[in-house]
């Protein structure tokens, strides 16, 4: 038994996997952008990773129990932040997501909200303390989750909003969902789909189009279906062995949409082939399994929920992003963790890993 958490207690295997995935991301960003006006992006990404590692260490230092203590306050700050974004945030690419702090850092509040919801739900599930969640418990979880989801949807940012949901769902599952509740949930979702379908006219035009495109990509190859088709062409033409680093014509000629970010896996699939995709997906599987391992070894139930909250978000992002690349899901704008270019995305992953390290380092601490 040790008294103090120490840096040696970081999960080095987990970090090795994270490092490998990040390196693949850097290389693919380089490959996708080196011959274009975006050249040099990989250095920015590397900088973000550096910032992320520092942030991860900082987050691991503060005892997660302290964070859990402050959960209600954090939640209030997060919701307030989202409201501020809706009121004074500035628009980029048609969505209000950013708050400018001192004109230097563009803070994407919804990314912070992802971390807050992990902590808040961990606190809630730990507090419930039962193996059989009641309907009231489920309702409370629903309210806690759907308030930020609604606010983020308002921005509008369907992708980030969606990401919060699995944290709640996985938490419910782990906390002990009753089979009848689960069955009812499935039935309700099954009924909601046609209703939602009829409500689709209330969606934003771009959302309608994305759905339409997803269902019938071949209808309009020049328009909205273009991204998915181009992504599939890149992936499919990569074949088993790939076209080689920097040699993917779809990637290099810019046919792959946002090839350095949301569709970076398509670029990678074209250049590295099925083999490369296998390596990436197995690394992600390793990451998830390692996270689950950390959850299993957590000192207490609250720590376990924190780790699994992180796992839920990362796993969901990998699943949704990868499915989108091969046309199994519509375009939602969810990046691939650690590989897609983007400061907010990278910062979130390392902050979330900071929470995981935090829990791990304290598993033997009294």
């Amino acid at each position: 038994m040790k008294d103090r958490p120490r840096i040696q207690d970081f999960d080095w295997i987990l970090l090795a996997i994270v490092g490998a995935i990040s390196l693949i991301g850097l290389l693919e960003i380089y490959s996708s952008t080196h011959a274009s006006s975006l050249a040099g992006m990989q250095w920015k990404q590397l900088m973000w990773i550096g910032v992320g590692v520092v942030a991860m260490c900082l987050v691991s230092v503060i005892d997660y129990h302290a964070l859990l203590d402050q959960a209600p306050a954090l939640y209030a700050v997060g919701i307030a932040g989202l409201l501020v974004v809706l009121m004074i945030g500035y628009s980029r690419l048609g969505a209000k997501r950013w708050i400018s702090i001192g004109g230097l850092v563009n803070l994407q509040v919804s990314e912070i909200m992802k971390l807050i919801i992990i902590v808040v739900l961990a606190r809630y599930f730990a507090e419930v303390g039962t193996e059989r969640l009641s309907l009231a418990d489920l309702a409370k979880v629903g309210v806690i989750t759907l308030i930020p989801v609604g606010l983020i949807l308002k921005q509008p940012d369907l992708g980030t909003a969606m990401v919060l949901v699995p944290v709640a769902l996985l938490g419910i599952f782990l906390a002990g969902v009753q089979w009848k509740h689960m069955a009812v949930g499935v039935v309700v979702v099954a009924l909601l789909v046609p209703i939602a379908w009829n409500m689709r006219h209330h969606l934003k035009p771009y959302q309608q189009q994305r759905i339409q495109t997803f269902l019938h990509p071949e209808d309009n190859p020049r328009g909205a279906g273009y991204q998915i088709l181009q992504s599939e062409i890149a992936v499919g033409s990569g074949g088993f062995w790939g076209k080689g680093f920097g040699k993917g014509s779809q990637n290099q000629l810019g046919f792959v949409p946002v090839r350095y970010s949301d569709f970076i896996l398509a670029a990678l699939a074209e250049e590295q082939g099925f083999i490369g995709v296998c390596v990436v997906l197995l690394l992600y599987l390793g990451l998830i399994l390692r996270l689950v391992d950390n959850a299993q070894k957590a000192k207490d139930r609250a720590g376990m929920y924190i780790v699994m909250g992180v796992t839920a978000i990362l796993g969901f992002q990998v699943l949704v992003n990868t499915s989108m690349v091969i046309g199994y899901m519509p375009v939602t704008g969810i990046p691939l963790p650690l590989i897609s270019y983007g400061g907010s995305s990278i910062a979130f992953v390392f902050l979330a890993l900071g929470l995981v390290m935090n829990v791990r380092m304290r598993r033997f601490v009294n």
Partner: protein
């Protein structure tokens, strides 16, 4: 501490393990998805990927315009569209060929031929399958961009000859580069490139043609240009200014309508060609677009040889025009005294053979021999000079070799000599042949331009100019063959008499008021009388007239040839009209010939490429 249960240490190990298994299932599910795309359907997507790609679309540099000496546009270019076939993927070409065949009306064989011709070119370079696309063709390509992704359009600068046949043989024409030119160009040309094929278009191709640019664009799988990678601008060809004078050319063209022959007008002091006509001719606009093989064959096999530039390529017996060489040789060599006279009974007997003359001229001296063109006088001169002396002076006066005019395909003519006959026929020179050569018959041959240069040379005391069409004062060169003043006086007096004396061969019909218009007629048999008698038909003689003004140190010299004219004096009015036009212009009194007046262009001071081509006089 807090109200919530911090020390709850129950971890749901089973559910966590279940989650792990679920993760493995999801990864397998995703890998199956990738397997389907990357392994099962890889071929399909590779095809689609191939359709996405880079296209290199040439930007054709416009050829330089040609201007006359006063800046009037004789040739220019106008923009038009060509249809390109992108052949990056042979599979796609194969697939869409039938559709293109019906849509654009190009036969499959034609397209295959084009494809074969471009076999050695890099595949990303498209080929031109249809130059000069019609509105319907453009609509077809535009409307089928998504479903026939291998067609594209290219703007080209098409050659335009606003005056059609008027300058055709001199200016020449352009056409697609031939396989042979392609080979010799060391990669400079690509199939379908337009190059100068004849005349000035060929001679000054290097100046006229610019450097093509290239636009590299990225197109997606439905043929839409996504972005431009780079743009190398075309460098337009340089315009060239010619020595040709549109007005003199139009006069000469007018007079030569319906005739077969040639006219060359030249500045006798510099060698600048003022007008050059060859008839029959062709319309170079027919070549500006791809010429149909049938039309090409017709032009090449036409017995009237419309593609021949008779002004520099018709090597014909000069007839009596050659007597000027004889007179010069007689006076300069001093073998025969200037006072030499002959009695002409209308024929003469040499070496047992009768040689005819047109008339019985009676007592003939040199002056009368030139004025009345007495053959018998020059038979005797020739007999006394001998072939090699005649040959020497003919050569010195520019016959028998190229004038060096800046046009491709010039013919050298022929001046026979003893050495020549031995080299070619391996026998001794027959003295009787000298008698024929003395009046410009037999084996002596000259082109219109050579005769113009020779007459100007003699009249100017031996200044043999170098004919040229590019207006550039630096290329005025003169070869000196000094003649004595006595020779010049006597010969030019004779040529003055031809036009201005009552017994001159033109019988005063072409006299010009206030202008010392001189000249020499020539009538050349194209077949011997014996042969004509045997064939039982009379072939009309070729008529020549070479005129100039003024009498000494001439400014302008004009040679005209009318094949089958029958008599040189019938040709003289053509020359007179051109000389008169020259002086009228000088005096500001020029009136364009009636049939030509309509299209007379204005001077194009700006030298823009598509300027006043069709502009009319007010």
């Amino acid at each position: 501490m807090s109200s919530w249960n911090v020390n709850d240490q129950r971890i749901p190990q089973g559910r966590l393990t279940l989650f792990s298994y679920l993760s493995v299932v999801f990864v397998i599910f995703l890998l199956v998805g990738f397997w389907k795309l990357q392994v099962v359907q890889s071929g399909h997507y590779s095809d689609l990927a191939e359709k996405n790609g880079i296209r290199s679309i040439p930007i054709i540099a416009p050829r330089g315009a040609m201007l006359d000496r006063e800046g009037r546009v004789l040739v220019d270019s106008y923009p038009s569209f060509s249809i390109l076939l992108l052949r990056d993927s042979p599979k796609l070409v194969e697939k869409y060929l039938p559709e293109i065949e019906s849509g654009l009306g190009i036969s499959k064989e034609d397209m295959q031929e084009q494809l074969d011709a471009a076999k050695s070119e890099p595949r990303f370079m498209p080929i031109i399958i249809k130059p000069e696309a019609s509105q319907a063709d453009l609509a077809f390509v535009e409307s089928h961009r998504p479903d026939i992704p291998i067609l594209d359009l290219m703007m080209v600068q098409r050659r335009r000859y606003p005056y059609g046949e008027m300058f055709a043989n001199t200016i020449g024409y352009v056409g697609e580069v031939s396989p042979q030119e392609l080979n010799e160009s060391n990669g400079r040309y690509r199939p379908g490139d337009i190059v100068g094929k004849a005349g000035l278009e060929k001679e000054y191709n290097g100046e006229l043609e610019g450097t093509d640019g290239m636009r590299r664009v990225v197109v997606n799988s439905v043929g839409k240009v996504v972005r431009t990678l780079d743009n190398v601008d075309a460098i337009p060809g340089k315009p060239i200014q010619l020595t040709i004078d549109y007005d003199l050319q139009s006069v000469a063209e007018h007079d030569m309508q319906g005739k077969e022959g040639a006219v060359v007008a030249m500045d006798a002091r510099t060698g600048a060609i003022l007008a050059m006509v060859s008839r029959p001719t062709f319309n170079p606009n027919d070549f500006a677009i791809r010429i149909p093989p049938r039309e090409w064959k017709r032009l090449n096999t036409d017995p009237e040889t419309p593609l021949l530039n008779r002004a520099i390529q018709a090597q014909l017996a000069p007839g009596s025009v050659f007597k000027i060489v004889m007179a010069t040789a007689m006076l300069e060599s001093k073998v025969i005294p200037p006072t030499f006279t002959v009695y002409c009974p209308g024929y003469a007997n040499f070496y047992g053979r009768i040689f005819h003359c047109d008339h019985a001229h009676g007592e003939v001296d040199l002056h009368k021999a030139i004025v009345a063109s007495c053959d018998v006088y020059f038979y005797n001169v020739g007999k006394q000079l001998g072939i090699d002396r005649i040959s020497y002076y003919a050569n010195a006066l520019g016959l028998g070799h190229l004038t060096g005019i800046d046009l491709p395909g010039e013919e050298p003519g022929l001046v026979p000599s003893e050495a020549w006959v031995e080299r070619v026929y391996h026998h001794k020179w027959y003295p009787g042949s000298t008698i024929s050569v003395s009046i410009g018959q037999g084996s002596v041959m000259a082109t219109p331009i050579q005769l113009a240069r020779m007459i100007a040379g003699v009249a100017s005391g031996g200044n043999l100019v170098h004919p040229h069409l590019l207006k550039d004062d630096t290329n005025v060169k003169i070869t000196r063959f000094p003649l004595s003043q006595n020779t010049v006086d006597q010969v030019t007096a004779g040529m003055y008499g031809v036009v201005n004396e009552p017994d001159g061969t033109t019988a005063e019909s072409v006299k010009l008021k206030d202008i010392e218009f001189c000249g020499k007629t020539g009538t050349a048999q194209t077949m011997s009388y014996e042969l004509q008698n045997r064939l039982g038909k009379h072939i009309k003689e070729n008529g020549w007239f070479v005129g100039y003004a003024p009498r000494e140190n001439p400014e302008i010299v004009v040679a005209a040839l009318v094949q089958g004219a029958g008599w040189g004096s019938f040709v003289a009015p053509v020359v007179r009209d051109v000389v008169k036009a020259y002086y009228d212009k000088k005096n500001g009194q020029f009136q364009p010939p009636v049939s030509m007046a309509e299209g007379t262009p204005k001077a194009d001071v700006s030298r823009s490429l598509v300027a006043s081509a069709g502009a009319h006089h007010p």
